[in-house]
Symmetry: D2
Subunit: 365 residues, 4 copies
Amino acid sequence: MAPAIRRLRIAVSGLGRMGARHANHFLHRTPKAELVAAFTPAENEVVWAKENLEPWGVKIYTDYDEMLKHEGLEAVCIATVTTVHAEHTIKAIEAGKHVLCEKPLSTKLEECYQILETAKRNPHIKVMCGFSRRFDSSYLNAYDLTLKGNIGRPTVVRSQTCDKYDPSGFFVAYAEFSGGIFVDCNIHDIDLALWYFSADSKGKVLPMVKSVMAVGVTALEPDLAKHGDVDNGVGVVEFHSSQIAYFYSSRMNAPGQHDMTEIIGTKGKLVVNSNPTTGLLENHSDTGVNREIPQNYYERFEQAFVEEARQFTAVVLDNEEMPVDLVSSMEAVKIGVALQESLRTGKKIFFDQQGNKMDDARARL
Amino acid sequence: MAPAIRRLRIAVSGLGRMGARHANHFLHRTPKAELVAAFTPAENEVVWAKENLEPWGVKIYTDYDEMLKHEGLEAVCIATVTTVHAEHTIKAIEAGKHVLCEKPLSTKLEECYQILETAKRNPHIKVMCGFSRRFDSSYLNAYDLTLKGNIGRPTVVRSQTCDKYDPSGFFVAYAEFSGGIFVDCNIHDIDLALWYFSADSKGKVLPMVKSVMAVGVTALEPDLAKHGDVDNGVGVVEFHSSQIAYFYSSRMNAPGQHDMTEIIGTKGKLVVNSNPTTGLLENHSDTGVNREIPQNYYERFEQAFVEEARQFTAVVLDNEEMPVDLVSSMEAVKIGVALQESLRTGKKIFFDQQGNKMDDARARL
Amino acid sequence: MAPAIRRLRIAVSGLGRMGARHANHFLHRTPKAELVAAFTPAENEVVWAKENLEPWGVKIYTDYDEMLKHEGLEAVCIATVTTVHAEHTIKAIEAGKHVLCEKPLSTKLEECYQILETAKRNPHIKVMCGFSRRFDSSYLNAYDLTLKGNIGRPTVVRSQTCDKYDPSGFFVAYAEFSGGIFVDCNIHDIDLALWYFSADSKGKVLPMVKSVMAVGVTALEPDLAKHGDVDNGVGVVEFHSSQIAYFYSSRMNAPGQHDMTEIIGTKGKLVVNSNPTTGLLENHSDTGVNREIPQNYYERFEQAFVEEARQFTAVVLDNEEMPVDLVSSMEAVKIGVALQESLRTGKKIFFDQQGNKMDDARARL
Amino acid sequence: MAPAIRRLRIAVSGLGRMGARHANHFLHRTPKAELVAAFTPAENEVVWAKENLEPWGVKIYTDYDEMLKHEGLEAVCIATVTTVHAEHTIKAIEAGKHVLCEKPLSTKLEECYQILETAKRNPHIKVMCGFSRRFDSSYLNAYDLTLKGNIGRPTVVRSQTCDKYDPSGFFVAYAEFSGGIFVDCNIHDIDLALWYFSADSKGKVLPMVKSVMAVGVTALEPDLAKHGDVDNGVGVVEFHSSQIAYFYSSRMNAPGQHDMTEIIGTKGKLVVNSNPTTGLLENHSDTGVNREIPQNYYERFEQAFVEEARQFTAVVLDNEEMPVDLVSSMEAVKIGVALQESLRTGKKIFFDQQGNKMDDARARL
């Protein structure tokens, strides 16, 4: 018996690592969504899709534009390589499809502006950048407590993204397109800082960046230097609102993925994932007490991705406001790109109260 | 487009608290299952089902026997009140349906035997008692490590089931049918002890109980005494295989649900949930560092229930062996019932090597 | 310049492992005590004392009775083998010396009575059994919170003493004199149960034991059976006051010493040392996150022993009440001995409200 | 009987909060030291000393120069206000006394140089700055593991010093002389970074600072701005050896003192005090699971201060090398002062490979 339920007809663009996961989430774990189509230009991904999606009634496309014409299609989840995020997002909006775009919107600020402009011209279309951590229950609890004033004014955010070391050299090749460690990894942390700091105004005012500064080293992968990138980065961001965020990212965390965040307020502090762990098991042996930690981002945030899919779906169906603000997502790219520039030049970079980068002469006044 | 996938057509019997959850799991979170029907005799549950299940194509029945005749039905998940578990299970088996029955199979040992006999007469039918903890990732990891010999020979199991205090008096009324705290709560812990101890023989040999002894108090609910029950119980079970399990159960845990288990071997110890927590958030305030814990069994084990549904479905579809052995599930009831008797009489109860209870005279030899 | 401070002149009897530590604590870490003498019959301990105590002005004796005559001696700390605890304690009391005696007072209940009688006849002499855990800051905090009513009525105590496995076979030889695992290890846990349960009456009423029951296995040291002992024991003690304590002890804990205690009340629970750790260091490596734990009892409780010495000294100097009640210390032995008997016979043992053991016939009424 | 033991005759200068503690440590908890004298210019401290030190044979002075002439005096522990650290240290060295000086040596770099020069001219005199954390067992274990190569090359150090909020306004008045939050609080963290990074060369090479950058806010105490100080500071220090340290300090940590450090290497990470706690007690109540944390620096590091006194004493008596290198202690001040300057000016500050600060023009090349 076919469901009499109104479900959102969605497609996934890109079936790589994250794309395949998104497809599964919409297909099997988002009751109110119906995955109707998927696009990938990669042959091996088409093979996977024929086996894993087609039998469930999902139509597979190798041409993105064709897919956008799929009958009844209402929304697209974009999980292609970062370099085409912007193009696919803009096309989808113009075709009248709601968009959930993987982070970052783009590694180029100009492209972010174009997305924003396109979205403004199509106000009935919902566009959200998929900052998955915002849908993790611990991060959500922290936000609710911050909103309620439990920690007073959120003043300092510390946040880190640390990947397990991958000896295959993957990160070096990846660095060519990733936008660099601050744009690829710390973009999550930057987004969180913007989110938690904005809780001070109940989410109404986005804090304005005042200065950024970054340093880094290539401890294990000297070849990263070719792309102006590092495997360990430290960044500090000041806001005009007397709030400070500082970040750490690493590609060499030995036990696995360790992302953590502290929101420090005038009356208290909320800490998410100070003690990383895979589950609730501890192993007492003659070497001491041991626990394992998630091996990658997905092991840590699987439920958050599922929740992201559910909330995106619900928001579109109910015509409500997107939980992640698009301007904030662009601001995150702006800060990430500036940190990357500071890393490269060794200079501290200043912004005026309107959000414009100040040249050296002005900054020195 | 309708899926071309072979899915298990399943029904849920009983739509109370757990029944409604099972229905949702099979409907939305078990891709290879298709929830086709549901039975409940309760009017308010019918209302819920009309709103939440029927629109998804699920047929609602108020007569269990009628539901068993639903066309194409292959399996039933039984989540009615414990007192009809056995009857529904036996009827389903005899109607040729595979069965996933909520724990315990029955609070009466005689009924467990009847289920077992019925199952033996219908060897092509899969029957599993839903000991959900066995599908929790931390418990599963612990089992794998035990199987691999990481802790040497599993020798002692400590396990507890502690519910948040419910001031409504619910537990008092519930005690009339629950079978008592050892049969209702510690049945999980008993099942775990049987499971982990059997890992010593790679799962081939179920340990044989040698003696049981229990004590308890009614600290907050003196009326429990009417049903011969307590709100805090301690039980100790010896096995003929020189293994010992000891249990604690409580109905008055202040912060919430705290179930935990230690598997102690000759070379190490595995501890599941020594540090209960809702998630990964800690709150640093002027009263110290605080974290919340799950408020009930479902908050703690939601993923395990989903995994249970998935594994049951996969096992039936692939015609493999059930992950929870039916004889073991009956043995758990036997031990639970004996603990309850020991609690009531104050006596230690002995069993011979064949599993028969010894009368006092023989036990004293 | 010699101090003008009034200090307690104390001697230590026995300079084995714990005796040498006690000597050091009184010599160097108890400002208001002056270690003036030490006794040991063992030649190697005399050598150690000549090197480590004599240069600090401590007189070394090889005859206990002679030491008791040391001019100005006011108190004795008894840390000899358990078998002479009672004899030394009684002699010291009769010589007018205050006594701090290592636990247990004796493994024989009759000897405990003799100590008690002797103490009663000499009411101006202070006698305390050194239950060191009572001087640990975490246990003390737990007691204060229990006294204040934070957890409501203390109802259930769970407590364990787990030693690191010693492959030398030491425990087997030791079992001949130790009194067995419940008298040697769990005596601490029994003492803690008596202490925390008595907090219900602000320390005025000692709970009366109603029944005891114990089981055990020899998992690694089958030779323990020669002495009627085990390397893993579980014991349960009921009190007439509707309070229950249950204990676990082990000689095979892989990572080190893990002693822990839960005090469970009608409104909350206090947990001491659920997460054993040597200090505040965690090691994140490619095998996960690891921490070490104390290797033995002294590593865990060193500060408690020092505090015990300080409090004993202060109490004698100020003529106040001993922090550990002597009757309670004897009751702990009584319960420990009964658990050991239950372990040996397999029987549950009952006590009447006056504290007398009931024979089987009476117990069965 | 007077000890026949060779003990170090030491005096304490300054009997304020830390001075009184140092006096007690040398008097009662450092067996091989003999506290013979103490100096304080403060009347209330003299009263305290008459009551607490004099009866133990300690001579009290109100003139520092007089105290230095105390017969037989061999060493001085300097715990006066920071502003006279340098003067007292230099005088003591010139009088032929070994010196343990509280941190920092001075808030003025010039004075640090003078101490260093004086020490060089008196090579037989031992001089150590009391960086107490280096004597904490967890920090020591982390150093040993780093030395052994467990974490590969130490590459990044994160370290924080967070004080409990003191609503009395103490910190504002204190800021006038403290040198600022980076010199007063993070000086410990800077010292630790120098220590752990130097482990890469087995302690032979001190890493050379390349750049420093700091930001901060006054979240609770706007009056700190009068002294150019903040109540929350973030600082980043690059070294020419491709190592990075980043620091956080706060005066508003709600639950108490939370100092923590991560040493991140190419193969692993050591974390000290990620989970602050007062002891081993957890409180499970209807608001969740709670633990307290130390209320101040001394509660956290008491044992480290005692160990510092013992090691200083042992090193002097045995004529060995001081565990904390004096050049490193001066370098810590240099970095702290530079961070403070960066905080004030908003500029990043650069140093050449010889350790000289570069002016803007050179830095921009």
